[in-house]
């Protein structure tokens, strides 16, 4: 039994002591725990739900996009071996299974169905966390911590600096509850005119909404994935769909989360019926289930040593302390109304404001016609070269706190910056970097802020991570030759 001042100096039994404590078992947290465990650190992973993978599994976001890096390539290999991945469509159940196996093999302890409820802090150092268990609260002590909770719960509970949502009113972008339909004749849909001519259903929905056939839940189909290793080509395919949307979202408020789950389920039922009645190939489809984790794209983020911004994406910026790369670009979802915003309002280097569009275009919600100039990213980046942008190590390091790193969708960014760093495989790459950095900071006995970033980068590259070494020279890797790196990337670099 140990005494500390959280919860009015109650006595709380100690669960254990670890080198590295990772909170949140999503893509980022699982990546962090695997990396720390494999580097020899005694590691524990705390997850609130009943499985690992977070949004990518429990949230049915089975569409792992972005560059594949070290552990990400391994995940893809293992999923492919058990028919759990086809192109960029993954099977959430197999994904959970592979994570369970990888965590076990790495010797990482894991606690499922266990939420973090508080922290034990001494000045700028987090000493431990408090978890809630069936037997009451327990304390876990650690030397280094990774906040991969998606919502920065750990940093927030520790009194660290955080921000939520967009700058003006702290509202987060639209949240989506995913749903799965069975009994789909995917071949029929795939060859339908709708899919071939209007794959995002933009014109189709405009008409249906105007005719009152369906409420204005969103003005386009966000995505539809065919779940691998389900019946195929026999009219019984299973697809998962991102379409439902709650607006005016405050995902760190439990009453608003509850509202969104209930609203999301209601929308999924409406959409399933509408799709069954109107989309070719879906005549015999039925709603299997909705996500057990609400699709919160963006919420509370740490305030870090560097705040990664939309402008960094717009210019495809490189940083000497790069630890992961992405190429997705801005991808915001309507805050208060339908539509996908592949643009944001930024400030150009000359101080002038501008609406800046993604390479792919403007999306389905256009900027207002208010005279502000419009710039296309293709005018800002050299399109003849590989486009990517760097995520700097400093965006993972919270200000002030000395032994905590963030990883995943809650690193230090503005909202447009977050929208281009939250991709599934990018989150895993950030996690791998954070876990590796924790192990390194323990070995070298320095706080996370003072980790030798060059050493970290060399370690990541040794572990076959893609930090852009195939595209350009990174100072700390100046001596190495990575010319054959791209050839090695089995799953491509996207």
């Amino acid at each position: 039994m140990i005494k500390f001042d959280a919860f009015n100096a109650n006595e709380i039994p100690v669960w254990g002591e670890y080198d590295v404590v990772v909170v949140g078992g999503g893509m980022a947290g699982t990546g962090a725990a695997l990396a720390a465990g494999r580097a020899g650190a005694k590691t524990i992973l705390i997850e609130n739900t009943s499985a690992l993978g977070g949004l990518a599994t429990m949230g049915i976001v089975n569409i792992p996009l972005d560059f594949c890096s070290g552990l990400g390539n391994e995940l893809f290999d293992r999923l492919t071996a058990i028919n759990g991945l086809r192109k960029r469509n993954s099977n959430p159940e197999k994904h959970k299974l592979v994570f369970d196996q990888m965590i076990k093999e790495a010797g990482v302890e894991v606690l499922l169905v266990t939420p973090l409820v508080d922290t034990i802090v001494d000045g700028n150092v987090v000493k431990g966390i408090v978890i809630h268990t069936k037997e009451g609260n327990r304390a876990i002590f650690g030397k280094r911590f990774v906040d991969a909770s998606g919502d920065s719960d750990l940093v927030y509970f520790a009194g660290g600096e955080v921000e939520v949502g967009r700058d003006e009113d702290h509202m987060s972008m639209g949240c989506s509850l995913e749903f799965v339909l069975g009994g789909v004749n995917y071949q029929e849909y795939a060859s339908s005119e709708l899919r071939l001519k209007d794959p995002k259903w933009i014109k189709f929905l405009e008409k249906a909404i105007a005719e009152g056939k369906i409420p204005d839940i969103d003005n386009h189909l966000n995505w539809m994935t065919v779940v691998p290793d389900r019946p195929e080509n026999c009219g019984m395919d299973e697809v998962s769909i991102c379409f439902a949307h709650s607006r005016n979202c405050f995902p760190t408020k439990n009453d608003d989360l509850t509202r969104m789950y209930i609203e999301g389920r209601e929308q999924c039922h409406i959409l399933a019926k509408f799709i069954k009645e109107n989309i070719p190939g879906f005549e015999n489809s039925f709603l299997c289930y909705t996500g057990s984790l609400l699709g919160v794209r963006e919420s509370r983020r740490i305030v870090g040593e560097y705040r990664f911004t939309g402008m960094d994406i717009a210019y495809g910026r490189e940083f000497d302390d790069v630890i992961a790369i992405s190429h997705h670009g801005f991808d915001l979802h309507g805050f208060t109304k339908s539509g996908n915003l592949k643009w944001f309002k930024g400030t150009m280097p000359d101080g002038e404001e501008a609406y800046i569009a993604n390479i792919a275009g403007w999306g389905s919600q256009l900027p207002p016609d208010d005279g502000i100039k419009r710039v296309h990213m293709t005018e800002l980046v050299d399109m003849s070269k590989q486009y990517y942008y760097d995520i700097p190590y400093r965006a993972l390091v919270p200000v002030r706190l000395e032994n905590v790193l963030a990883a995943g969708r809650n690193i230090s960014t503005d909202v447009p910056g977050q929208s281009g760093t939250r991709l599934v495989m990018c989150c895993m790459a950030m996690g791998e970097a954070a876990g590796t950095a924790c192990a390194l900071s323990l070995q070298d006995d320095v706080n996370v802020r003072n980790v030798d970033v060059g050493k970290l980068q060399r370690k990541l590259v040794e572990n076959k991570c893609n930090i852009g070494q195939g595209f350009r020279k990174i100072p700390s890797l100046a001596d190495g030759d990575y010319s054959d790196f791209m050839v090695e990337m089995k799953h491509g670099n996207g």
Binding site: L65, K87, W223, G363, Y387, M486, H491
Partner: protein, 70 residues
């Protein structure tokens, strides 16, 4: 050397841009908000775009057969 198989974007492209960054010879460009397009002269048939296109919008074709149709 060109392979016998090349790839083209048939329909159903959601402009996720994944293939754009896969292509070793930069054969892929975009019609904004509409579709990716593969330049058949540049494509060397490596299949990377095809293997990573989530909505399966990219399809292979045999070069000879395709050329005959021209």
């Amino acid at each position: 050397m060109a392979n016998k198989i090349k790839y083209r974007v048939e329909g159903g492209c959601v402009v996720c841009m994944t293939c754009l960054y896969q292509c070793p010879v930069k054969a892929i460009s975009l019609i904004e908000d509409v579709s990716a397009v593969i330049d058949s002269d540049k494509c060397v048939g490596c299949g990377r775009c095809y293997n990573n296109c989530q909505p399966e919008a990219i399809v292979p074709y045999e070069v000879e057969e395709w050329e005959r149709k021209l």
